[in-house]
Amino acid sequence: MPPTPRQPALPFAERLLRRQPPTLDPGDTVELPPRNIFILPTATGLGFALLLLLLLLGAINYNNNLVFALTFLLAGVGVMAMLQTWRNLAGLRLQLAAAAPVQCGRPARFTLTARADERRTGLVLDANGGEPVGFDVPAAAPARVELAVPTRRRGWVGPGRVRLFTRYPLGLFHCWTHVNIRARTWVWPVPAETARPPPQGRRRPSEDGTQGRGQDDFRGFRTYHPGDSLRLVDWKAYAREQGLQVKEFGGDRSEEYWLDFASLAEPDTEVRLRRLTRWVLELDRDQQGYGLRLPGEAIPLGRGAAQRERCLKALALFEVPG
């Protein structure tokens, strides 16, 4: 699987040391390698160093042993904090679950599972463009972290390289590492906003030539005629300003729709795809059978969740490289 495009450059320290972040594939477990964990003092850390310097000058000036002791104790606390911050990240094990496909505009949710032998506190996961997620990892129990990656257009989406950092326990040091996450999922187009009935369905010819009618099998819609039972009116369609439609039920027959990219009047490809997406979602909701024709690809008639997924994926990845 190729990496997600448009990665920002690695920070200076990592380029300087020629360190490449570890990669994490779906289902894999990766243990954060110590060589890829970086640590630098924060502004608070520099302030603390200034405090130590002032105390040390005071101790030297007054030749005061207890001020010396206090200064060295605090210096030791700073060193311990550096070690502790580093240990917060080192040896953490990450596992990745595959993400479900999602409609464009909604965040794609990738779930990471973090495990550690001893408790980790105050970790933050930061993906490009997404909200940083803070989490703790209890000892010997996995912590699930949901990474919401924003989607802005149809096609593939993935977290790419994410940053994991911590400043716990004292905020004196900023300790971070990068992980290349190679999971991705596809994003289907935003459905067209305006409703329009799909092109006229074709009744599947029955073997004996009769028009079966019954009460069991939902077959489709037809326009309302005076005298039809009000219970059969599709009020949801009426609310969508599609006029009065009556649900028809038949025996073993139902209508089938061919959704054809080439038959649409709109000139723009994306607009056509959004229209087709809306029809796929509506027909699937109404449990109709449908097929999809895109240039270079045809999905035969079908229905149900598998058909929906197949059509949405074709729409999501139409003319998308890789």
């Binding site: 608070t44 302030g47 603390f48 405090l51 002032l54 105390l55 000058l57 005071g58 101790a59 030297i60 000036n61 007054y62 030749n63 005061n64 042993n65 207890l66 001020v67 010396f68 002791a69 206090l70 200064t71 060295f72 104790l73 605090l74 210096a75 030791g76 606390v77 060193v79 311990m80 904090a81 070690l83 502790q84 506190t121 105050g122 933050v124 803070g134 989490f135 703790d136 400043r167 716990y168 326990p169 004292l170 905020g171």
Partner: protein, 206 residues
């Protein structure tokens, strides 16, 4: 009061433990200085806690400036000078409580903790008794525990885990303390006359 919706409301547990920390750190000076200064200090502390308990923001800048000016004037009136150990230490302890009254960002709490450590250092200029040393260990532990809690993004209310981790950090610091204490060279006699340093340092911190 200018800021209302956007101000950071420190969690009550954090505020209370932070108050405990600076009381511990300031206690030597609070017991030594004139009662009127200590009284003012305690009133300011209680006032800030009361504001937080009613969910109200810290006082406006003009009011704090007025109070700071009044407190500094009082110190000047009591000691007749800013320079020297006594008024310098009084000034540091007073300005620390003013920072506590201000407390509107996590960074302010951080600064109060640093001022607390500094107050402890200044306390040793007056006495080097063993009791004070033991007191120092307790106060450093308390301040460090608040600091750990402040840095914990998930649970800002200090708990036993924070105190335990602070204890671990202090214990881990002991070997370095011993090595540096033994090996650090000492210059006999004061390098600069004691009249100097403290007031300027306090100004820089504030």
């Amino acid at each position: 009061m200018g800021v209302s919706a956007t101000h950071w409301q420190p969690p009550r547990g954090l505020l209370l433990t932070l108050a405990g920390g600076i009381v511990l750190a300031g206690l030597p000076q609070l017991l030594r200085q004139p009662a009127v200064l200590t009284g003012l200090w305690l009133v300011l502390l209680g006032w800030r806690l009361a504001l937080a308990w009613q969910g109200r923001p810290p006082p406006a800048t003009w009011l704090r400036l007025l109070l700071t000016a009044a407190g500094v004037g009082l110190i000047l009136a009591e000691y007749g000078a800013f320079f020297g150990r006594e008024p310098g230490s009084a000034l540091l302890v007073f300005l620390s409580i003013m920072k506590f009254v201000e407390l509107r960002r996590p960074r302010d709490a951080q600064l109060v903790i640093f001022l607390g450590y500094f107050m402890l250092g200044v306390a040793f200029l007056f006495s080097q008794s063993l009791w004070l040393g033991a007191w120092l260990v307790l106060a450093v532990w308390a301040l460090t525990a608040v600091w750990v809690a402040l840095s914990d993004p998930c649970q800002p209310a200090p708990g036993r885990a924070h105190a335990r981790l602070a204890g671990r950090l202090l214990l881990g610091a002991v070997p370095l303390l011993l090595v540096l204490f033994v090996l650090f060279p000492r210059i006999p006699g004061p390098a600069v006359e004691p009249a100097g340093g403290c007031p300027q340092r306090c100004d820089r911190i504030e």
